[in-house]
């Protein structure tokens, strides 16, 4: 497939070597400039942490006090990783509202997200009418077993994250 190389004369032979040296030195001068005059851009991760921009799509957090159990997030999810269950509130119960004034008519009995399935596409947060389900910027949550990746947002331990990861 390759073309036959042109005939090599003595002049061309030395010219090739000269070209090789010339272009390499030119390239090396750029590298040298980087060594002495350019600032380093690497971030040494565990010691120095970069502040992630606002709206980073990382771990999901559902503030269950504001959730009206409308199921829209579970419908929008393309990988079906949100498990939600609810039952109607008794009629004589005290009327409660979310922080933006939407009345809560159903009682949430289960709200679990399997983060090992989640693809972080953000479709669930955009359909949430009360903005209780949000992406947080918390991204360091590796765990040892796959079961630990399931987060039950009614669990008091998980609810306590609210102060830690939601601002």
């Amino acid at each position: 497939m390759n073309k036959q190389p042109e005939e090599l004369t003595l002049k061309k032979y030395f010219q090739n070597i000269w070209n090789g040296i010339k272009t390499t030195v030119k390239g090396m001068s750029i590298t040298l400039r980087y060594v002495y005059s350019e600032k380093s851009v690497s971030i040494e991760y565990p010691e120095v942490r970069e502040v992630l921009p606002e709206g980073t799509r990382s771990r999901l957090f559902n503030d269950t006090q504001n959730c009206i159990s409308c199921d829209q997030c579970a419908v929008a999810c393309p990988v079906d990783c949100i498990y939600i269950a609810s039952k109607p509130r008794p009629k004589d119960a005290e009327k409660i509202k979310t922080s933006n004034g939407t009345p809560i008519r159903r009682e949430l009995t289960q709200y679990t997200i399997d983060t090992s399935l989640c693809c972080y596409c953000g479709l669930c947060t955009t359909v949430c009418p009360t903005e209780s389900l949000t992406h947080t910027s918390d991204h360091e949550y590796a765990s040892y077993t796959i079961d630990q990746m399931k987060y039950d947002y009614l669990d008091p331990e998980v609810v306590a994250w609210r102060d830690r990861i939601v601002k």
């Binding site: 073309k3 190389p5 390239g27 921009p53 799509r57 972080y120 596409c121």
Partner: protein, 386 residues
């Protein structure tokens, strides 16, 4: 079966030679030079490749079957994951197809943002090609310089959409978030910086004698071969064919923009060799910057989302939409039966076509040259397998 055939061929060529057998080598699936999980079965006669068979399918994720079960909006994240290095362009193609079917008017501001992000993505993708290609040929430093610039783009996308790689930013009917003036300024600054950087890359790699020796006259894909296999994108342009969908079949607002189609001219060797493909990509980056600058000048105030009903239902029928992605043409064929989910979504990937060209180029090459050829084709296995 194979070995005997080859054996006779070898013997047929040179009868006096000692009878020898071909050596089979597996290159990949975990080989740094194959850019992902491509396995190439190579039959070699000492250093010379006599046959190369690519084996694909290691990254198959049932894109088409997934699409048949999920609504039109939910399919967008899966489109991202096809060519994960050019997710914006993948989304754009899908959104354009769906919009054409429902006849939605996309606001002007959204069109400008779309073109801008897809061109930025093209620059990011070609930067990655530049870096990894240099690594393939034994130069490590250019990779770091390229990633430094790529980081600027990724950071901007992170602020726009919230993710660094799989954005889900281009939506049916518009885009997700509005772009801020401060971000536009940053893009402008990036464009100005990038011009100087590109010159640097040319000096550092493109015109380097060692690089030229490794790439010129290597892996020649001539025009006829490109036509026969249906190659598109930089491969076709590298072979001297002036074909760019952005110019020839304009979509979005590309009609109003002024840019050129870089073509391979065989400056250092033959038309259609590895150096030409490299050169085309480098020049394309410059053209992309030109487009971005025009978008920055022309961007208008206004809404970013068109009118799209909340429950999206497409009319009965089918559509084929193709767009120019960094690696070639991407086509979406959507068949709808009038329901909430598509009846069938077929994606035509350019990388698959380009992979099929490898066996034709390989025979007669040195193994090291074959590595250079794979690198210059620039395939992303996510798109090959889908």
């Amino acid at each position: 079966m194979d070995s005997t055939e080859n054996e006779t061929k070898v013997n047929g060529k040179d009868q006096e030679k000692v009878k020898s057998e071909l050596l089979t080598i597996n290159m990949g699936p975990q080989h740094p030079a194959t850019h992902g999980v491509l396995r190439v079965e190579i039959k070699t006669d000492s250093e010379i490749v006599s046959e190369a068979i690519p084996h694909i399918g290691y990254l198959h994720r049932c894109f088409e079957k997934h699409c048949e079960n999920i609504d039109y909006r939910g399919n967008l994240p899966f489109c991202d994951r096809m060519d994960y290095l050019a997710a914006m362009n993948m989304e754009l193609g899908y959104c354009l197809a769906v919009e054409k079917m429902i006849g939605t008017e996309v606001p002007r501001r959204a069109e400008y943002i779309r073109v801008m992000v897809s061109e930025l993505q093209r620059v990011a993708s070609h930067l990655l090609f530049f870096g990894t290609y240099a690594i393939d040929l034994g130069a490590f430093t250019p990779f770091l310089y390229a990633f430094q610039e790529r980081e600027t783009i990724l950071r901007l996308f992170e602020e726009l959409s919230g993710a660094r790689l799989l954005y889900n930013y281009v939506w049916i009917g518009g885009v997700w978030n509005d772009i801020k003036d401060e971000q536009l300024l940053r893009i402008k600054k990036f464009c100005d910086k990038m011009d100087g950087e590109l010159e640097k890359y040319w000096t550092l790699v493109g015109h380097n004698k060692i690089f030229v020796e490794r790439t010129a006259n290597v892996g020649i894909m001539d025009t006829e071969m490109c036509y026969n296999y249906g190659a598109t994108g930089p491969i076709l342009r590298g072979s001297g064919v002036e074909w760019d969908l952005r110019k020839k079949r304009p979509y979005s607002i590309y009609e109003e923009l002024d840019f050129e189609i870089p073509v391979g001219e065989g400056e250092k060797g033959t038309v259609g060799d590895c150096w030409d493909r490299f050169s085309v990509r480098m020049q394309e980056m410059k053209e992309s910057l030109k487009i971005i600058r025009q978008c920055l000048d022309g961007i208008e105030e206004g809404p970013i989302m068109g009118k799209v009903s909340k429950v999206l239902k497409l009319p009965k029928g089918e559509i084929y939409m193709r767009t120019e992605c960094p690696r070639g043409e991407l086509g979406y064929h959507i068949v709808s039966d009038g329901g909430k989910v598509p009846y069938r979504v077929k994606a035509k990937s350019s990388c698959f076509t380009h992979t099929s060209m490898l066996p034709e180029v390989a025979p007669g090459q040195l193994i090291a040259d074959f590595v250079a050829t794979i690198g210059s084709v620039d395939i992303v296995l996510g798109e090959v397998d889908r």
